[in-house]
Symmetry: C2
Subunit: 552 residues, 2 copies
Amino acid sequence: MKIALAQINYHIGHFESNQRKMLAQVEAAKEQGADLVCFAELAVCGYPPRDFLEFEGFMAECRKVIDVLADAARGIAVVVGAPASNPVPEGKRLFNAAWFLHEGKVIARREKALLPTYDVFDEYRYFEPATEFEVVEWGGKRIALTICEDIWDVPTGDVSDEDFDPMYTFRPLDRLREQQPDFILNLSASPFSFEQAQTRMDILKANAKRYELPLFYVNHVGAQTELIFDGGSAVLDSQGRVYDEMPYFKEGLAIYDLNDIKQNPRDQERPKQKMALVHDALLCGIRDYFQKLGFSSAIIGLSGGIDSALTTVLAAEALGVNQVRVLLMPSRFSSDHSVSDSIELAENLGIRYDILPIHKPYDAFVQTLHPLFENRSFDLAEENMQSRCRGLMLMALSNKFGHILLNTTNKSEMAVGYGTLYGDLAGGLSILGDVYKTEVFSLAKWINQDVEIIPRNIIEKPPSAELRPDQKDTDSLPEYDLLDRILYQYIEKQRDPQMIIRQGFDEKVVRRVIRLVNINEFKRHQTAPVLRVSTKAFGMGRRMPIVARYLS
Amino acid sequence: MKIALAQINYHIGHFESNQRKMLAQVEAAKEQGADLVCFAELAVCGYPPRDFLEFEGFMAECRKVIDVLADAARGIAVVVGAPASNPVPEGKRLFNAAWFLHEGKVIARREKALLPTYDVFDEYRYFEPATEFEVVEWGGKRIALTICEDIWDVPTGDVSDEDFDPMYTFRPLDRLREQQPDFILNLSASPFSFEQAQTRMDILKANAKRYELPLFYVNHVGAQTELIFDGGSAVLDSQGRVYDEMPYFKEGLAIYDLNDIKQNPRDQERPKQKMALVHDALLCGIRDYFQKLGFSSAIIGLSGGIDSALTTVLAAEALGVNQVRVLLMPSRFSSDHSVSDSIELAENLGIRYDILPIHKPYDAFVQTLHPLFENRSFDLAEENMQSRCRGLMLMALSNKFGHILLNTTNKSEMAVGYGTLYGDLAGGLSILGDVYKTEVFSLAKWINQDVEIIPRNIIEKPPSAELRPDQKDTDSLPEYDLLDRILYQYIEKQRDPQMIIRQGFDEKVVRRVIRLVNINEFKRHQTAPVLRVSTKAFGMGRRMPIVARYLS
């Protein structure tokens, strides 16, 4: 049996586009002699469709695409993910289903049993879990047809079954194994994080080995706002060796012969490099945000600091140098080098830059507010006014010319609230909001490895917001190296202060950092969606109350 | 048996405060001769604790409070909601539990079976559902101890079991009924919406009647950011008559004798008035946001329109007239009456107002941006610049004096994106973001029913953003009466365009309105939390993708 895996960049709710892309791959697979072509989980509507699933019309559109694909499945079988209506009144109205189509008909349907409802996932919000399991018999084979999470709840590496803490109460493949399947086919929507690429491969290996079956895995590729799908669809043999890994961050179709996988084993697992993956993921995130919303050009406020410099480089690479323009908006607190470094960067990239000092509007605000401010001294209010003057000018250009303002705040700043709402926290999409400051430096150096695109001075100078004379980030925050390690323990690892302190960190610093994270939830509530590259990003995957009083 | 219901305003994560309030009520209940005192669902940590539940230290704090309450339960039983650890490794790590405490010990624990995971609820994100059911035997009675949703999945009114579309596959009370309980005790965290007060009473009646048992129901009161709990704890007899309803939006303790409920039936159900409820809910929402975050004063930009006027009246009532100040920021497009009407309102209320025209900073921006704008004509960019100048001045006063900026955008504007990000969409809390424009008018008239607090001219003049000469909202939007009816069908009722058109609305208008709702998701993503008063508010209860292309 020849099995084709189609790795596609879907667009949520864009049925016409999703259908067109799938039909093209059905044809291509047929031409190349495939017996079966497999698409990803919820491929028909894109992932995650979120509350659109609650609209009957949305479900009707899904069903129409299924019918079209069934009709195209002539001389080839098509396996595709789409929501399905639950025929019984009890329970949730939908299933997250894999549809097996052949010769104009739905010849089988299997539903997802394990519904991820944690981090960025909300599946039990919409779907009833499957409780019955049956292999699909087709073409003389018995196929263990599963959807994403159904194969995820297994121990990997050296963890034994006894030490493993499963998130669910059973494993679908334990049930399917009793029916002696010939191989596992898994339709996924598994979003990227820089640790995920390796974790996912470990999970695939663990399943292939545990059940002693070849495994075909097909994933989405492309970004849907904050969630980035990296692709990496793969085929493993029954000993858990990687027969093939499809490309990351690229669409593609690949065809595999089931016999060949058994007869000519090989191990094609590719090494995963963190900075290369993060770089490619951010590019994908930027590109798809623009392409899917129908925008083409970006604007960025260039401060002379490393965050805006890195954002600009990534945007230029993703959108093209003619689609990115930057604005330099010095104030009287700006150092000379912040302008000269920015110009150097813009010239290195060959992008348009303009310089508009903010002192006129800033002074006008100071003058207008003077009767109410009386003789109070310069403080946070004036600092934020500068940042907001810049935000206003960027948004004015955005509105006038249709550019999307990109936000340049990094994850460390987002975490501790080191940023001005409606000022430097403005923007349609946050590029670095899931990249800690120390990782920003690493990524900048990785980009500069062959050619100095980002001027060295931008990388080497001490970080400063330049909102008052001689300001440094370290005036109000710990050194980033220390800060980021504490933040990682609290945010990614969800460790309590006591546990972090026990690791050797200073108690006062730990408590202060965690307090800053907690009291700044209100700011994160109002910021742009953040491209997710870690296992715990701010946004839909981290849901914290605002008015809580806990470690604050 | 005498049963006390304690209706308390908890604070998420504020264990010290929650414990102190509960201990006081245990003492009060004991003094008044109660045998048992019952607190609400997840009372110990407040509702919703969200991802704090994933932290071990948070769970340890919960357990400490349970131990303190058990120790206080001398001569009285205490029933209280708190998360519990799942002892088996399989499944989610926690249960949503009701703890039955007596004489220093946990004498029983029951877990929630039906886990709401829709709209604002995320319970399956954290909790494993209960699968076993047993009454609690205590004091010679058999108690059907349940938690919130466990009693919600029943048909109400004239709906038969056959026509009912249950959200779950079984009913916990069907299981418990077999054990012949004497009464139902239900611990809840049921947030307010103006339809909810009646719906909830209908649900309580349906359960009491269906199972022919007295029902004791205890709810939270007070607001946690966007979610407002209205209290309304209640006791019903076995025929579904309302023996008592506790106050709405107020803390309280009430003691009921089980025999008396049987022997002296009465029907104390109170009528629910929409505008009175919405008014009280918004006041509660404002007051608790400030109190729980430790802020006292608010600032509002007063435009001369009805939204900012109503917001100001509500804030003054919630926080006190000395804790609210307003800023009038006329531009050259402002009408004279927008200033004079605002002054009249401020004087009616007796609050501080200041007038700061925006033309100086606005002109400075125009001048600064001129080299880049060249000779392009006045458009949305300049309109938004005015709104953002105002947002900047309000935030400057907020930062300088520690006032919280209240957002004045109504639900109709939020829906169609009629507002400026970082301008009039700024603010820490949205007061009217779940109140349609037509409801804003109704509420204003309701407030004015005895005394004209809001100047009549503000209510009667045609709505205008006053960002260009002679602008009216109806230049770009349908009349609000029509707009709001379409929005209600799409947002609250989740009806598809075809269904709405079939109701007699113009197809073009319907498609345009729905398109506006969908393409403005990016704005709502960046706005303040919205006080929720309807069954479908923007925010955590309505989760839509941003880059989707569906009805857009």
